[in-house]
Symmetry: C2
Subunit: 399 residues, 2 copies
């Protein structure tokens, strides 16, 4: 629902929030968990321009799980309150500079699930491994996903150590095919009791907000281990997420009809309202010797075959309990064009066509010292653009 917090005329008394291109204008107000340098205690906060509003007066916890457990109406009310406090004309109060804060994981993630919701990604990857049969017959009916590992979800900035593993029969060592995957993650709200699925009509209020997700992947390990139970160690060494939760309320102006399906989804997955978010996501590479980061890909989250409400409803359709703070990721976000491919496996056609970089370098897979930065933003005429912040990780050598 569009309300006064989305008014494009709103300005903040925080000057940096009004700057053109600022990711965190007063229309955004994302939530995160931070720790000031030298302090032990973590606190919840709201990002505004280059600053953080300490939210511990409202949310007295070291994680956002309690906030996520609130009904959607309470979360909307809090947003309204913060919007009013920060708006031009309201009395100024003390804020904390983001540069002095370490951003932590926003929630204690109980379970992390990773979908496979881009039909472009599924087709591109499927074609490499099964040219005769790229999409399995279930793809257009079942929102495919696998359970991920919550213990290795790290906040942006955490160094990513190159993992070792079985790269093939009799061959154990550091992966030679380290890749990134651009995804969007959603944090679950109140959730459901065991045995009580969340109907599609209610799913949206159980999605608190989103972040950027880099589902780091070791392709050689993945190829050798994945049959028949799916990816395991090829993914569980690290998943990076951006620290600011962009709330469903902030995303409201960027909600759009999902891409049309050739085949109708089963009734339990049919949405009566626009369920997709138009978020543009980008992946940037900064290699050790490079002067400037290079954009590897950009694609739109709106192009996904399944929406976040469909993913959550499917996930709980068997009665599986979703809990506040659970993380659901979308799977690699790829689009129809080559520049829309959200991982190196796709960009290089399984390593056959290296990506050429400006300084004459090239990449097939990631090298030690490479930094991958994911970014995301939402734009729409007559609304103020918002950003998702960034999700960064640098590869360090194995051993």
């Amino acid at each position: 629902m569009i309300d006064e917090t989305h008014d494009p005329g709103l300005r903040s008394w925080v000057e940096s929030a009004n700057r053109a291109g600022c990711e965190f204008p007063i229309q955004n107000l994302p939530l995160g968990v931070f720790r000031l340098k030298g302090e032990k205690q973590a606190r919840c906060g709201v990002a505004i321009g280059d600053f953080i509003l300490d939210a511990s007066g409202w949310l007295s916890s070291e994680t956002l799980n309690g906030y996520m457990a609130l009904p959607a109406s309470d979360r909307r009310q809090l947003r309204l309150e913060w919007s009013r406090i920060l708006r031009a004309g309201s009395p100024e109060r003390e804020l904390l500079p983001q540069t002095g804060a370490e951003m932590l994981l926003p929630a204690r993630i109980g379970d992390y699930s990773d979908f496979y919701a881009s039909i472009h990604h599924a087709t591109n990857v499927g074609r490499m491994f099964r040219p005769e049969n790229p999409l399995f017959p279930n793809y257009k009916h079942v929102p495919i996903a696998y359970h991920g590992r919550s213990s290795s979800v790290f906040a942006s900035g955490t160094a990513i150590k190159r993992p070792s593993g079985q790269r093939g029969q009799g061959d154990f060592g550091p992966t030679r095919e380290l890749d990134y995957e651009v995804e969007i993650g959603a944090f679950v709200g109140p959730g459901n009791a065991p045995g009580e699925p969340i109907p599609i009509s209610e799913a949206r209020q159980h999605i608190v907000g989103v972040c950027l997700v880099n589902d780091w992947s070791a392709r050689d390990i993945q190829r050798w281990e994945y049959q028949p139970l799916g990816p395991f160690l090829s993914k569980s060494f690290a998943t990076s997420i951006s620290p600011w939760v962009i709330t469903t309320e902030a995303l409201e102006p960027f909600r759009e009809e999902a891409a049309t399906h050739e085949t109708d989804p089963l009734p339990y997955l049919q949405e009566s309202q626009a369920g997709a978010f138009n978020i543009m996501v980008e992946a940037w590479l900064l290699g050790r010797g490079m002067r400037q980061p290079v954009r590897l890909s950009r694609s739109s989250f709106r192009e996904m075959y399944w929406t976040l409400p469909q993913m959550l409803t499917h996930h709980t359709s068997n009665g599986c309990p979703a809990r506040p703070g659970d993380l659901i990721a979308s799977g690699t976000i790829s689009g129809p064009e080559k520049e829309n491919r959200g991982c190196l496996l796709e960009l290089t056609e399984k390593g056959k066509e290296p990506v050429r970089l400006p300084d004459g370098e090239e990449r097939v897979f990631l090298e030690d010292g490479d930094q991958i930065v994911l970014r995301g933003h939402c734009k729409r005429d007559a609304f103020v653009s918002i950003g998702l912040g960034c999700c960064a990780g640098t590869i360090v050598a194995a051993g």
Copy 2:
């Protein structure tokens, strides 16, 4: 290491612990979390005969996670203390009857992973789905596993609601192929920091103890959803575990050499000591109209292709952090004979040969009202037998 706590001559002042066939003699001393009827607070306890020793003087928490985080030497010391306190000749103290206690999950499970470590199970199931190619080429090299769902791990006794899901294309409804799977689960001890694998030589001290696991499965949902990322909703509606953690120390007399491998494991998985536990596991069915439970299967955990230390070392070999209270399950424990098949899918040859029950009834898959009870015990000459308690669940109708 065998010590005074394993002495077969030891008797307890708790009479029921000395009874022949008692699962919890003084040589066992499993740990669990219980709540007395009418109380709110949960407590840690040690089972002895028909009673519970309240352990809150030692472990002041509502879960065993803190205990599990202790170094193996501290856990061994606690066992010694409890053994001495409960031994015949020591002063009697107040105990709580097990009948007055509700058993809860022993730990807050951060992550739950499920292996596929029985080559008999993998071969039997593989033959049904891929007759020409039952075992994938990776099987004898990689301890195959998938990430499970921790939010749907329930304590024994929790009713299991028949899940709904996509049973095939365009077909959504309650599963028609509800199955059980007999497994052993292991709780992780201190664990490892991100990026720091647990070497095989140290893995054993990170395994705190075991429980029985029923990995309830919906075979029609599984068949339709599992490609290419593995089982998801076909498993995540419920996993039941027995509430008493049988410690690694209690299992010490039943440690044996693992079954020999045709092909040597890679060096990182080679154990220098006997790493298997000889635990006999059984599955019993009690249907609604049945007077007596019927044993469906029995098999030995010793027959698994991979041991628990191998599973944990493999799991962390990519740097994935394991945390105290994480649960690692073995996968269905099947053996070479028909009576050793640990699930109905195998027992009925994918539904083709119903299991005949005494009263003229038969089963292909589980029906509403069916109760499945898993049991386990360890026997060895010159040692006192111990039991694992039970893992029970009754199917209730969908809807």
